[in-house]
Structure formats: structure tokens, C-alpha cells
Subunit: 582 residues, 2 copies
């Protein structure tokens, strides 16, 4: 009895609908991209009445499948003007799945500027005023909301911060982590601004009394679940006290720096002299020193056995922020020329408080430095600048709208972005496959669209030369595989294990087949992934995107990047082969 | 012996080249669009090293042809991302033509932030530092430059203001008028920012000692010149003490208001209750009262016999600003809800001082009002806001980058623009042909691309129903004819006369044939116009534009406009027929 919950913010009505048969077996990214593709006019204004925000838990979300509590969020992006799916680990989607809600669709637009809270539980959906919750830091609001509705053991909270309320393009959508902290984000692409444009401040989900997520073929599911769990428990990256559990994703800082692919000071260099001071190893060592004990990482969401989410602690041992992901660490660290972890932690915290995408904001600060607004490395000034966003001053509104708007405002031509979205923490001139992925991704510059860093840098699923330009097949295959994984509800980090351990990947397919009662095999991975990408590519084509939008910024083609002193030299014709564009 | 002067700002070198035979007979917009099409990579960053700014006087500019002192300026627009041609009346282009310079191409980019002045005369081209000229109002700089180089009888000055120096998207390129005032603009599309990105603050042209512009067939030229002069002298709109000479272009305020097509308060209404207070008639009456005599308008440039350029005077009779064009009057008046001519004059003056496009800035202020930044009608606050641009504060940088960036910054979805350029003073829902022109123009929303207002509102060349949606042929034909007129060097305002008086149009063709020594007939008008448009359309296609970019803002399709309560209802398929797009 799975349903779609459709919420109209024009008149604040909510109704349940059956899932159409055409959406059979679709969930997570496959379903958000299907609904956005089918219901949102591709040329609509992202902040106008015709855009929608669609939430969908993955196929196995809410089941005992390990590391599967992802929630996909879709819509037309105010940052890129194209389709967007961003996903987050949180108990929120798990509770939605347990309520039998396959998708929550937020549509329409109120005529006034009021804000609302939506409560969803086994009895239905109800609104209450959220005006008193606006203009505040998320840590001042979200735990209080959770407490009022029964506490973190009963509810999870989805919310936007000040950035979303003010409809800024870098506004993410925040979810509570396993401890009820407002720290997990469907961060990219500005979907927080879309929720803001609809006057929806928060969505509380309470799954009390809900039955378990039905599993059609429990035996097959259990076989798959165990295979996946075994692979995750065994692989050096994902196992307990392995790389991610010990150092978090920031373990990548030293690795990318060594590879010359750590973009530094607005992508002017590929190595950062302060890398070791901000690396995952430094976070581990710093916490150990300040806490007097070794601190391993924690799961961001229920059922995760990788547990890569870190915390950073102040000199007095109190918690400063969670989580300093590699990309956030890089964005405020290397890309801003800042090598002080306490300052990076503060910048990370402020993004969590104001509801901002750390990658976009780090990239934006770097562009602003290039524009003369501040000096690379001046962490105190960077912190002041992010506070401007929280105060929604004119300067804050520039920065809060991301790198491209900031480049426009300050006349900067060197803006590292694709399709309006800031480039993440991997330098295309030094790692060609990720550059192709940035170029063609339906999401704008996005490493999670197809994490070719795995083979190009980490040697996962074989080792490729990062400087080799022949990555067409790689970029395509990784995006298809990712379209599938983002549909399952699993965290993308399972890929490290399942790309190396074939039985783990089989296990994921068996989990899905078990839940859905299908006969899916490994052949269905690329099929589902291709269907997801085809929907997204079609939306973007209708929105006006052409092959010209599948290009890296011009400066990367004529500015050699130290230390390899390579330029972006992948032929446009090769890029266009990834998805057969003309 | 016509030449191209090519200036490289990377190393501040200048060289003369012969005009390639492929550019034979090309001048004005035809030549700027040819050079931009052929030399500027369509996907380059508008503020990066690969964009160029191309100046070209028209075919008959510098000859005794009446009303022909236009200079075309081309480049890739920072506002639209497409090709741009903006033109202005000024003696500057006339002097360039007399020096035998068919085009001046500014290319390259310096590595530092210094600014330069380029002096062009019969001896060649030379640079000097302009650092001391930056950060100032244009009236504090331009007359002093002219004086230093021999005065307004010997030189004209092209310059950018603070907006261009700061590379703002609404920065125009300013030229001196016949009195040496820095008041005439190639305003639209942000080409001032491109000059700014190249560190070129001013270009002084001195034509002392130059020979007259050669005319291959003087007899034919003279026949044509006389026919055109007769038509201009006879037509009610263009004759001495006719509509334009008496009331200026602002004579349109009451006419468009009556037609319900005067966009009011960010295109929410089609009539403005304060229209009569800001109309051309009110300007004439106000000047008469303050000066104690009737003041007719003056030519903006040498040889103009229409003489539509007005001045507005303060209560003490001193000159406040020149010129309050209809579009500027509307932009700060009806579109901002301001009905005080002194405030409108001050806003107009400030744009001239800071080097800004009045249409873009008026449209931007209206969007900012919609975003809650100020209240429609509060002229004092509007003036303060334009001063923010002059001070280049963060707020000023938002506003100075135009309506789309301002909409992004303040989360406004109702932004009246096409391809990133603010919509001018004619409401598409009330005048469908101009809406089609905005939609398909290669320039973004631009009334000068094809002034269908002539038949739709003014009854020039017949009278069409403005609400009739069948305007495909009209939009195409007017754009071709305009492509031709913009190539001749004539002011577009000759169209009022020559569309009604066939001999006048013949005269324009004969003037061109006389100068060039060709056998051009009336058949060449559409041929040349089509060649111009085809070049521009091809550039834009390569820059990534598709039919999706040929659309009016979404809100116009679902928001009825008073008083006719009509929406934009022209089918996309009809729009796409104008230039046969798929």
C-alpha cells in the first residue's frame, strides 16, 4: 500500500495518492527524477509556482539493508536551471519509507511570505505556522522541534535555514542525523531555496506505529544483505577502524594533494602547502589530543556500518561541528588557502547553522578572494563573510547565491563551475575522468554523479592513470552505476567495497530484488542507471541545455595547473560521446 | 584605403590592417557582427581574454547623409552571453570614419588592474595611463580629456564609467554628444564591462587633417541623400517642431499608456496613473515654465536633422540632464512607480555619470522593489540605490549587474527579461509583435532590434492591432530591415519617415550605393539584414542558445495584465517560425 503524499503550498492541502503503475519499482533518485521529469515544466522558473520539490527514500531504505538510509530530493535547481537530485543520510527518509510514503511531492506557492511546518505521521499530514522558527540558526530550531514532537527517537526533521528562507541558490536541505543534530544535507543545487519559495520551513516525520517496510522475497533479500555487509566489513576503506571510520572522508586530503589534484586557491594550483594540517589524519590526531582518547567516527543515519561521520572538538573537548567531510574540508581549506582546522570547523558549522552547501560556499569564497573581497588564508575574514550570509546583507545575498553570481558581482572570469554549480574538490586538469563527469553530469559539476576518483586515484576496481584523457566509457559507466545506487537508497560509499568485491554488488541487486519481488540481475544495474540518466538528460534538453553546457570553464583549457602543469585537453567530441550528444 | 585598427590590451600594441576582401561593403552592425562572429569564440567568458570589443561606423557615417552619425559596438555580452551590437549617435564614429578606420578592434587582456587611454588620430594610435581618471563621475573626466586633446571641435571621447571599470553587467559605453557632454550611450548588453575587463578607460578620436569620407558615386549618393532629407523633413514624427523635435522620444509615454502597454511597477500593470506627469509633453511644459521660453530639442550628433535629444532643467533654469529618452523616462518612471520628473532626471543623470544602461537599471530597481529592497514610487530611495552602484558597494554590485542578478540575489521570480537582458518599455502582453521581437532577438529583450511599435501603436507603415498574435512575418521583416539600417550608420529613427514615405527608403539605399559604388536596390535591404541576423543567430547557436532561450518570462503566460487583462499567448511554434528554429 505504498502512496505518494502530495502537498500543495498554495492552499496548504495534503492528499495521499496511489503510486501510479508507471512508477512501479521506482524509488530514490529514479522516482524523484521521474516525477520532476513528468510534472515540472522544464522551462519554469525554479523559484516560481510551477517548480516542485520531491522527496523519495530508496528501494531498500527502511529495511535492515546496511548503510541504506538515504533520502533523495529532486526538483529544478535554482543554481543550474536543470534537474537536480541531491541525497542525504538521515533517519528521516527511513521513517517516510516506514509510513509507506514512496514520495512526498511539495508543489504550489503561497501568495504571502509566511512559513509553515508540515507534520507527517501515521494519521496523515498537518500544517502549523513556522513563522516563529524563521531567521534563526538551525541548532536553535531543529532540536526544539524534535523535542516538541516526541524527541529524536520518534521523529526526524527536515528543514531549511536562513539561506533557504531567503531563497539563496546555495541553500541546501538539512536533515537530522542519528543523534538529532541538524547536520546532514541534501546540499547541492539550491533545493533549499525552492522549499523556501514555497514557504515550507520544516517537515517533521514521525513513524510511530508504522509497520516494517514490506519485503516481497525475504530469503533473497537476506542473502543480498549479508553479502553486502560482508563486503563492507572486509574492505580497507569501509571496514570498522578502516580508512573512513578512522579518518572520515577527509582521508582524501593527503591522497589528492599527493596526486596534485587538490584544487588550491580557486583552482590555481593542485597542491596545498597546508594539506597535512587539515587532512583526516590531522582531524583524528587533533581530536585525540583534545579528548585524551582515540575517537572513531559515527554513523550519520540508522543502520550504517561504515560510520564515516566525524566530529571536531574544541581545545576544551566540547564538540565544535559535525561532520567535516573531505569536500567541506577542502572547500574552506585548500580552496580558500586556510590551514587552520578550527577555522574550517567554524565555517562548516556556520553552513550547517544557516542551511548552506559547503562546497558551493567554499567555492564562492575562493571566487570572492579572486575578486579582491578578502585575502586567501584569512580564516577570520572568511568566517565574517559567511556570517554576512546569515544576516542576509547585500554581500551575504551575493555569496549565498553561489560562485557564479559572486563572479558576476565582482567581475571575476575565473569561476570554476559547470552549469552554474561550483566544482568540487577534485581538479579536472589532474584527474581527467572526474573532469568528464563534471562536464556531462546532469547535475552540474558534481563528484557524486560518478566517482571516477575510485579507479583514477584510489585504485578501487583497478588503477587508471588520472592524467589519461580516455575516460569516455569510464564517465558513462560510473554515472549509470551511480544512478542505480542512488535509486537503492544506499550511500554511495558502499561503492568502494562493491566495486572491488563482486559479491557485494550482487548483494545490492539481490536486496532490491528481494524488496521488490523482481528478478533483477547485475544486468539491471546499468539498465536502471541509464533510465535515470535518460530522464534527467531529457529534462535538461527541454530546459535548453546543449553540448555547449557540457564544458569546463574556459580558463582550464589555457592555464596549466601546477605541479603537473597540465591543461584540460579532453576533446569536446570525446565529451559529447559520453551521452551521445550532438 | 580603409583600414582596421587592431588594439591588443595584453601588451598595449596597435596596428593597422587592410580590410579583408571578405568584409567588402560591410560596416556598422554588419561589420561588428561579422568580426565578433569570426574572431570571438562563442563559448568564451565575456570578461576573459578571448572576448573582443569591435567599433564600426556605418556605411554612410561621416558623409553628408542626414542623421547618420551612429557608431556600432559589438562583442560577446556579459549580460546575455550572446552576441551584442549596441549603437549610439555621436561625432566619435564620424571622426573614426573620416580617419578611414572601418573598424576598431579591442582585444587581449592585461595581467594587472591598470587602466589606459587610447588616442587615435591621423598619425596613428597611442596609449597613456588612465589610472588617474578612474573612480570618478564621467562629467568630471570626459570634458577634461576632450579639453586636453584640443576641445570638442577636434575630438570626441568614448569612455566607460565606474560601472564599466568594475565590470558590471549593466555598464554601457559612453560617447560625447555634439556639445561634448558624456551623454550618448551604446548602452545595452554590458559592453562597458568588457572594455573594463580590458583596462581600456577611454578612446579619444581626433580627425584633424583627415580627408572627407570617399563617395564612389557622388551623383547617386546625392539623389539618395536629398530623398531621405525630404522624407525626414516632411513626416510628422521627424520634421522640425514635429513630435520628436518637440517632445523627444518621451512623446511615447502617453501613447503607450493609452494603449495599455506602458509596463508599470515591474510589469504588473499596463497603465501608470502618473503617466501625464512624466510624458514628453510634461518635459516640454516643465522646461518652458522653468526657462520662460519654448525649448525644442537638439541633435545628439553632427548632421542630424531630426534633433530629438532633450534636456531637462532645474527650477533655476540650469541644465539637469540630457537626454531623458522615452525608455529611460519609463524605466525610472512607470516601471519604478515614480511620477516626479526631477527624480527621474536625477536617476538618468546618475546613470550617465556612472556609465550605466538606464533600461537595465530601471528594470533592476523594479525587480529590487519586488524583492522588498525599497518601495515603488520612493524616488529618493531609488536615487540612493543608484549611488550604491557608483560606490561599488556589495548592494551596488548586485544592482549594477542588472535585473537577473538582482532577481537571484533577492529571490525574485518575476524578472522581466529575455536572455538575461531587461525588457524595455513596451509590454508584450499588450503589444504582441514587440513581444515576439523580444523573444527571438539575437540581443535579448530589445525594442531596437525590430521596432514593431511603429505599425502596432503609431500607425507607421499601416496600422496593426497590437493584441493580434499573428506577428511572425512582422517580427522577421522588422529585424531584417533594422539589421540593414544599423549597417548604414543611420539612426533607427529615420524608420518613422522611410516606412511611410517610400522614396525616403529608396534614398537610404541610394546613399549606400553611392558611397560603396554598388548597384544596391531595395531588394538588398532584406538581403543585408538577413546576412546580419544569420551571423548573429549562428554565433548565439554556437554559444549554446536554443529555442528555449527565445521565450518570454514564465509569469507573463499566466498573469493577466491590466487593463486588457491579456496574457502572453503567442504559441512557441509561431515564435520559432520567425527565424526557423527547431
Amino acid at each position: 500500500m505504498e502512496r505518494i503524499l502530495r502537498v500543495n503550498m498554495a492552499d496548504r492541502t495534503a492528499r495521499f495518492e496511489p503510486v501510479p503503475s508507471s512508477y512501479k519499482n521506482r524509488a530514490g533518485r529514479w522516482l524523484t527524477s521521474s516525477i520532476v521529469h513528468d510534472e515540472v515544466p522544464a522551462t519554469c522558473h525554479p523559484l516560481g509556482p510551477n517548480n516542485k520539490v520531491v522527496f523519495s527514500p530508496g528501494i531498500v531504505t527502511g529495511t535492515p539493508a546496511p548503510t541504506s538510509s538515504r533520502i533523495s530530493v529532486g526538483g529544478k535547481s535554482p543554481l543550474t536551471g536543470g534537474i537536480k537530485e541531491a541525497n542525504s543520510g538521515t533517519g528521516w527518509g527511513r521513517r517516510l519509507a516506514r509510513l509507506g510514503i514512496r514520495a512526498l511531492v511539495v508543489e504550489g506557492q503561497p501568495q504571502d511570505d509566511r512559513f509553515w511546518l508540515l507534520k507527517v505521521d501515521a494519521k496523515g499530514a498537518a500544517f502549523e505556522s513556522a513563522d516563529a522558527l524563521t531567521g534563526k540558526k538551525l541548532s536553535d530550531v531543529v532540536p526544539a522541534i524534535a523535542a516538541r514532537f516526541g524527541g529524536k527517537d520518534h521523529v526526524d526533521v527536515c528543514s531549511i535555514g536562513i539561506a533557504g528562507e531567503k531563497r539563496m541558490g546555495a541553500a541546501g536541505i538539512c536533515f537530522t542525523d542519528r543523534e538529532g543534530r541538524p547536520t546532514r544535507y541534501a546540499g547541492r543545487g539550491g533545493l533549499g531555496a525552492v522549499l523556501g519559495s514555497k514557504g515550507l520551513k520544516a517537515i517533521v516525520v514521525d513513524d510511530s506505529g508504522a509497520a516494517d517496510v514490506p519485503i516481497a522475497d525475504k530469503a533473497t533479500f537476506d542473502i543480498g544483505r549479508k553479502k553486502l555487509a560482508a563486503a563492507l566489513g572486509e574492505h580497507a576503506i569501509t571496514k570498522p577502524k578502516g580508512a573512513l571510520n578512522t579518518y572520515g572522508t577527509a582521508v582524501l586530503v593527503n591522497i589528492l594533494n599527493e596526486a596534485g589534484g587538490l584544487p588550491t586557491r580557486n583552482f590555481r594550483e593542485g597542491r596545498f602547502e597546508g594539506a597535512t594540517k587539515i587532512a583526516g589524519e590531522a582531524i583524528f590526531a587533533g581530536n585525540k589530543e583534545r579528548l585524551g582518547r582515540e575517537l572513531y567516527n559515527h554513523p550519520c543515519s540508522p543502520g550504517c556500518i561504515i560510520a564515516c561521520s566525524n566530529t571536531w572538538h574544541r581545545p576544551d573537548g566540547s564538540e565544535h561541528t559535525s561532520c567535516i567531510e573531505y569536500e567541506s574540508d577542502w572547500a574552506f581549506g585548500a580552496d580558500c588557502g586556510i590551514s587552520n582546522l578550527d577555522q574550517i570547523a567554524e565555517l562548516n558549522l556556520l553552513c550547517n547553522e544557516y542551511g548552506l552547501d559547503t562546497i558551493e560556499i567554499g567555492g564562492t569564497l575562493a571566487v570572492a578572494a579572486e575578486g579582491g573581497l578578502w585575502t586567501f588564508g584569512d580564516g577570520k575574514r572568511a568566517i565574517e563573510l559567511v556570517h554576512e550570509i546569515g544576516k542576509a546583507t547585500p554581500l551575504g545575498r551575493i555569496l549565498g547565491n553561489g560562485a557564479v553570481v559572486t563572479g558576476r558581482a565582482f567581475g571575476v572570469a575565473r569561476v570554476p563551475h559547470v552549469k552554474g554549480q561550483s566544482m568540487p574538490a577534485y581538479e579536472p586538469r589532474a584527474v581527467k575522468g572526474i573532469g568528464m563527469t563534471y562536464a556531462v553530469s546532469t547535475m552540474g559539476a558534481d563528484h557524486t554523479s560518478g566517482y571516477t576518483i575510485a579507479p583514477e586515484i584510489l585504485g578501487v576496481s583497478g588503477k587508471l592513470d588520472p592524467l589519461d584523457s580516455k575516460k569516455t566509457e569510464l564517465a558513462r559507466n560510473f554515472q549509470y552505476a551511480t544512478g542505480f545506487i542512488d535509486t537503492t537508497g544506499h550511500c554511495l560509499f558502499i561503492a568502494f567495497a562493491i566495486l572491488d568485491i563482486a559479491s557485494g554488488f550482487e548483494g545490492v541487486v539481490e536486496e532490491c530484488a528481494g524488496v521488490l519481488g523482481t528478478k533483477w540481475t547485475m544486468d539491471d544495474v546499468a539498465r536502471v542507471g541509464k533510465e535515470v540518466l535518460d530522464l534527467e538528460l531529457d529534462f535538461n534538453r527541454k530546459a535548453g541545455f546543449t553540448a555547449v553546457d557540457d564544458r569546463l570553464p574556459e580558463f582550464m583549457s589555457h592555464e596549466p595547473l601546477p605541479p603537473h602543469n597540465t591543461v584540460w585537453d579532453v576533446a569536446d567530441s570525446e565529451i559529447d560521446k559520453v551521452f551521445a550528444k550532438k
